[in-house]
Symmetry: C2
Subunit: 447 residues, 2 copies
């Protein structure tokens, strides 16, 4: 498909190319255009019907958009911007260099420019920045058939017509009514009698992720956004909510693995940026390992090769037990399944889990040592003491790790810090040092 299109383009067979491109949806078309030769891209883009062209533009990467805007005449730019929703225009503006932003704003009609500036001023990650201002507005004294006339008049340029918003003369949102309800009602029925007055809404300043979770929780197609005086200013649609949740999950995932979130895709991000995003945490870890190292040199006299050989296993077990708990708690906090007031319940639960896990591991380890001794080490004492020392350390390390592993993320959240970002480095430092200290103390005591 892509090859055919490029061939048609290079042979200047424009009517055939246009026919081919028209059959594509905007998402696929944007992907296809990104592989066209850069010089020919504006030529191909100009073949598209207006609506498809603007929908495709929205789906493109910023560098491609920039390339196209450079090729546009002011008239072409005006035409394209005229087709765009405000939220998409804002998304584009945020990615463009200043010169292009000025060109975009210059070619936007004043009233739309005013709305764009307002949206650009909402706090970062707020509902205001992801909302769409285009939505269908009804009045409570309209009838269903009047509502349909309004939808037919305004609907073409609205992002969704499936939920309509009823406002009073002061633009205060007083109810919502679904297109389904309108379609299934009698034409002479009043909107007032159909509208749902007990609806869910959010403020422009609300956190976008919280709002996205509301949309997910209540299976909404769109959620209205109101200002401090409850006046309707826009809506957030389910697809924008899905994007917010996707970005949030990506971030969370990366932070759990101790990588700062990437702004661009993996392959497009340069090596040096990748290295920067990963190095910070490894450096923190190195500093933290200083304490563990110091503890080990303190116990110089107790060190034997056999004792040292258990350190990797003990540290891995402690570290992993802790991050199991951290991951579960962070995920639970993020999805809203766990709340801070559940802390004591969680702590008690993790403590009991740690005991079961720790004891099982201690027993398994005793078995492992018994076999190892028979096959490999052939010690005089049969490793009885090692089984006890390592076993007790295992139980202690798992309990310590799980208690810290559930406490740290909840504490971070309580202090309004990011649980995923704060918990891991502190956890590793404390668990590593704690495990080694515990191990040597017990060794000295028993051996």
């Amino acid at each position: 498909m892509k090859e055919t299109a490029i061939k048609l383009l290079e042979e200047h067979k424009f009517p055939e190319l246009r026919a081919l491109l028209e059959t594509q949806n905007p998402t696929d078309l944007a992907a296809m255009l990104s592989e066209f030769p850069e010089k020919l891209l504006p030529v191909a883009y100009r073949l598209l019907p207006k609506e498809l062209a603007s929908e495709t533009f929205v789906e493109m990467d910023a560098d491609l958009q920039e390339n196209l805007i450079h090729a546009f005449s002011d008239l072409e730019l005006q035409e394209m911007l005229g087709q765009l929703f405000v939220d998409d225009t804002v998304d584009i503006i945020e990615e463009m260099p200043a010169a292009i932003v000025r060109r975009i704003l210059k070619n936007t009609p004043p009233e739309k420019r005013e709305i764009i500036n307002e949206v650009l001023n909402y706090p970062k990650n707020s509902a205001g920045t992801v909302m769409t201002v285009e939505c269908v507005n009804l009045k409570k004294d309209m009838t269903v058939s009047e509502a349909f006339i309004r939808i037919r008049r305004d609907g073409v340029n609205k992002e969704t017509i499936y939920t309509c918003y009823v406002t009073d003369p002061g633009r205060v949102l007083i109810g919502i009514v679904s297109a389904k309800k309108l379609m299934l009602s009698k034409p002479e029925e009043k909107i007032e009698n159909l509208m749902e007055t007990n609806f869910i809404s959010c403020k422009t300043t609300d956190n976008a992720e919280d709002v996205a979770h509301l949309i997910e929780k209540y299976d909404l197609i769109a959620l209205p956004v109101v200002d401090a005086e409850n006046r309707l200013v826009g809506i957030i649609t389910f697809d924008d909510a899905m994007d917010v949740i996707r970005d949030e999950t990506d971030d969370e995932f990366m932070k759990m693995a101790a990588v700062s979130p990437l702004e661009d895709s993996y392959l497009k991000t340069p090596v040096i940026i990748h290295a920067k995003k990963r190095i910070l945490w490894l450096l923190v870890l190195m500093i933290s390992a200083t304490f563990t190292g110091m503890i080990i040199t303190e116990y110089e006299n107790a060190l034997t090769a056999l004792l040292v050989s258990f350190i990797p296993m003990l540290m891995d077990t402690g570290g992993n037990s802790g991050s199991q708990s951290t991951a579960i708690i962070i995920r639970g906090l993020a999805t809203g399944e766990l709340r801070l007031r559940d802390y004591l319940k969680v702590l008690y639960k993790e403590f009991r889990i740690a005991l079961i896990v720790g004891v099982t591991l201690a027993v398994a380890n005793a078995g492992r040592l018994w076999i190892l001794d028979k096959l490999y080490y052939h010690t005089a004492g049969g490793m009885g003491k090692e089984m006890i020392v390592v076993g007790i350390t295992l139980i202690g390390a798992v309990v310590l790790a799980k208690i810290l592993g559930c406490t740290l993320p909840m504490l971070a959240k309580r202090l309004k810090l990011d649980p995923a970002l704060v918990a891991s480095p502190v956890l590793t430092t404390l668990v590593d040092a704690g495990t080694v200290l515990l191990y040597f103390s017990i060794t000295v005591l028993i051996m």
Copy 2:
């Protein structure tokens, strides 16, 4: 709100309670009912209007549903089941014990029972198991006004009326048309001229997660599901797709943290199940640590307290460098951003990232040792050799970890294994053993 409701219930003020419950949406109502005293739950539930009652039932936890079904008469059960969509009925059946499943099927009309049985037979995690069979069906020779009559007749019982499906007499799907297009078109226009024939669909046997990603990618409200002969059998709506993605992400997140995914919520899962879900990986880790331990005892003669003190830092750095890469690659594979054929690009990129990260860490470590020596150790040689040995090991460990960290998940995917589940244990084993072996070899060589 909840307290008021329970008080009204206990004082038998049913009309007031009914008025209060009616204002709630199904999601919140289900949460509220779950905190009602168990004995009074059926009383409160019976107060709800039919439609709200069934919508609320769907949102409840399985144990609450079971409790209610026990309280229902056959007639009540029939009424409730009559209101449910097939996909919701199937979800309920899958959670219920056999006796209740028999009661549910007995009280379902034969034609619906047949569809339910069909859905129950689709392969696990297939599109067929998450689809809704209720959707609006149009014919291509209908006019827009005829289509509206059909929607008004059938629409009440359909999960979405916002996308309508056009089928030929053999039920083969030939086009789709949005309610928006219908509402904005002239009443006498033929459906044939309005329908989109170049639409995205999936098969009943397709993987549900892949289909959910399609819905997310193309911002669809619903996606049609067809059988092997392209006959329309159902649709998957955006909210069900969001649920599938949520479950997938949860699973992926847990696996990355080496926890088998939980079936129930954190607080509801018993301690012993939690312990089981976490212990397997810790056991694998313990066995794998056997090799690391053996390597250490092999180098018994080279061991000094100072050398041993670096082991925790080296292992943590290796382990974390590796899991950074693994997490990024697994996430990239899951979201479709990376494909197997990108392997060489990824490998080359990770190699260069590893060199930058490794060298930076080696330099930072030299600085750390210099400060440590001045403040704490006061060695004769000023730790020059240690800086070199540990520095080279750091670079080697990071390179090894990042190469394995990107290779293992892609190899697992290539072998059709789960990248998240396979990559971590193998990675830890190889990186731990590799790092320690490298460290001692370089020590013996240089010291």
